[in-house]
């Protein structure tokens, strides 16, 4: 379980998160949604210890992120951010092998090579293993990075807007892989998503933020409702049902 207790954060004088407390249970996919500037990415960065906590406490299965040594946390949680520009020229296999660093300390053994092989196979990267990252398409590169976090074999996977700059084929495929990480491999996935319909269709739980505070949380059916969407985004959005999942018609004009 991820425990977030009374976390507040600000850059300069402007507060980004105000007294956020949240429990994210182990297992499944939890999506963080909300308008720009709601503090979703900041919350994720704080969880991933990319920025130091100013106030409050965050713990993964009881491991406090500000007290636990970073290399110990790397065995517990893996992070994937959007800005994945790397100055070094790496092959896909090099990159995925870095996922083993918390366990191998930079000297991968047979066990690590086996884990890298499994990660490459799991993400259909076998034929691309020897290619350099800068020779790949955006979607393939994204897949290689997810494979790296898979090889890291951490219980929790945190992703910051992974669908940005992916076209719909890759976006769907990525969500599918995240689903399989949660269902088949027992990982807990926390993902910041812009598109509420992706969240509604693929996530088990949705946490909605607005102006640095949690305004709604629960299953997609509980959160994706016109009254909640109005309090999250400040606009009126119709919601219909498609199969089991709610579908927000956010691209349409205000329903009069």
């Amino acid at each position: 379980m991820i425990e977030i207790d009374r976390v507040s954060h600000g850059f300069g004088r402007s507060p980004v998160l105000r007294d956020v407390s949240l429990r994210i249970p182990k297992g499944g996919i939890t999506a963080l949604i909300g308008p720009n500037g709601a503090g979703k990415s900041t919350l994720l960065s704080l969880m991933a210890r990319l920025i130091p906590l100013q106030a409050g406490r965050i713990a993964f299965d009881g491991l406090d992120v500000s007290r636990t040594p970073s290399n110990e946390l790397a065995l517990k949680l893996a992070v994937l951010r959007q800005d994945t520009a790397i100055a070094t020229r790496l092959t896909v296999r090099d990159l995925v092998t870095f996922g083993r660093y918390p366990r191998s300390g930079g000297r991968p053994g047979p066990e690590d090579h086996a884990a890298v092989g499994r990660a490459l196979a799991e993400f259909d990267l076998g034929s691309l293993a020897g290619r350099f990252l800068d020779e790949l398409s955006g979607g393939q590169r994204q897949r290689a990075f997810v494979a790296m976090t898979f090889a890291q074999a951490a219980d929790y996977l945190l992703l910051d807007e992974p669908l940005n700059s992916l076209d719909l084929t890759y976006a769907r495929a990525l969500m599918h892989r995240l689903r399989s990480l949660a269902d088949d491999h027992g990982r807990t996935v926390v993902v910041v998503l812009h598109d509420i319909n992706y969240a509604a269709a693929w996530a088990d739980r949705i946490v909605a933020l607005r102006e640095g505070a949690v305004v709604a949380e629960g299953t997609p059916a509980e959160v994706i409702r016109p009254d909640h969407l109005r309090s999250i985004y400040g606009v009126r959005i119709s919601v219909i049902r498609h199969g089991d999942a709610p579908l927000a018609l956010h691209h349409l004009a205000d329903p009069g």
């Binding site: 991933a48 210890r49 990319l50 040594p69 970073s70 290399n71 110990e72 946390l73 790397a74 065995l75 949680l77 893996a78 992070v79 994937l80 951010r81 800005d83 994945t84 520009a85 790397i86 100055a87 070094t88 020229r89 790496l90 090099d94 870095f98 996922g99 660093y101 918390p102 300390g105 930079g106 000297r107 976090t149 890291q152």
Partner: protein, 314 residues
């Protein structure tokens, strides 16, 4: 295989060293061996220090174009030296023992770069143009301040300063050699222990922290080592602007591996080989004096422009 390539590089360096020691040898060996041996060691040390410093700097700043010298590190060293002469006066400075003086200068240099160059690890790290601007401004500032202080000095102090700071490949400061080698060796050993962590640091801040590497601490520590290595090379031969860029680019080209376990030795070997072979060629074969730095700076400047023009906007 990177290991074989390292062996080839080592063999090249051995050849260059042999040529440097033996070509055009006239007179008694008992004089020549220590005389040339000292210069050989100094050139090799400077080449290795500049190569390793540049690779380290490029790793922690996340780019392949900027080098410590382009960012004004060695201008800072010259400024510190000038300020010392200015404060102590020519006589006071000249009376100081060379070794503690060098140690103090290196310590000051590490302190100054630690406080200034934390900027390089901040948010603008991937913004090449901002980094370049910072470097140009720092470099110009340091050089102008040094020039300003030199203008205020009395001529005797200025002469002392000139003797202390305007070394070159042709006239290496060999009296500091043992101490410089010791310091550079300590810096090299410290970075060698970090070689695997540096591979991860090269991935960038977020991935490195995600993999449990203390990115910020390693970045700061590495910049301190870079300051140390730059102090060593600048004290021995004076500032060199683009030499490090050539060495680091060649090292990446030759090794083709993201692992610092290969990159760092390759950079050290290539740096040493270029200086020793180049100096042999110019002094012994072409019979020219003090032109090696001009050629290196010219080639390095061209390479810098080529890399800058080829860099994709970020």
């Amino acid at each position: 295989m990177p290991r074989d390539r390292l062996l080839v590089l080592a063999a090249l360096l051995a050849l260059a060293a042999l040529a440097f020691m033996t070509l055009g040898a006239k007179g008694s060996w008992s004089f020549l061996l220590p005389f040339r041996g000292l210069r050989l060691a100094a050139l090799a040390l400077v080449g290795a220090a500049v190569g390793v410093a540049t690779v380290l700097f490029q790793t922690v700043t996340g780019n392949r174009i900027l080098t410590p010298s382009i960012m004004g590190f060695d201008a800072l060293y010259v400024l510190l030296q000038t300020a010392l002469v200015f404060l102590l006066g020519g006589l006071g400075y000249a009376m100081l023992d060379a070794r503690p003086k060098f140690l103090a200068e290196t310590g000051l240099m590490m302190l100054a770069s630690a406080s200034l160059l934390g900027l390089l690890l901040g948010r603008g790290r991937h913004d090449l143009h901002r980094m370049l601007l910072v470097g140009v401004i720092f470099g110009t500032l340091f050089r102008s301040l040094a020039a300003f202080l030199q203008r205020l000095m009395d001529p005797n102090a200025f002469a002392v300063l000139q003797g202390a700071s305007f070394a070159s490949f042709g006239s290496v400061e060999t009296d500091l050699l043992a101490l410089a080698a010791l310091l550079a060796g300590a810096g090299g050993a410290a970075t060698w222990r970090l070689r695997h962590a540096l591979d991860v640091v090269a991935l960038g801040r977020a991935p490195a922290i995600g993999l449990g590497v203390g990115y910020d601490a390693i970045g700061r520590f590495t910049l301190l080592i870079v300051a140390l290595l730059v102090s060593v090379s600048t004290a021995l031969v004076g500032p060199v602007a683009f030499f490090g860029l050539i060495v680091a680019s060649l090292a990446h080209l030759v090794v083709r591996s993201p692992h610092h376990a290969h990159l760092l030795p390759a950079a050290a070997l290539i740096g040493a080989t270029i200086l020793v072979a180049g100096q042999t060629l110019f002094e012994r074969v072409l019979g020219l004096q003090s032109t090696l730095s001009v050629v290196i700076e010219f080639a390095g400047g061209l390479l810098f422009l080529a890399l800058l023009l080829r860099a994709r906007p970020t």
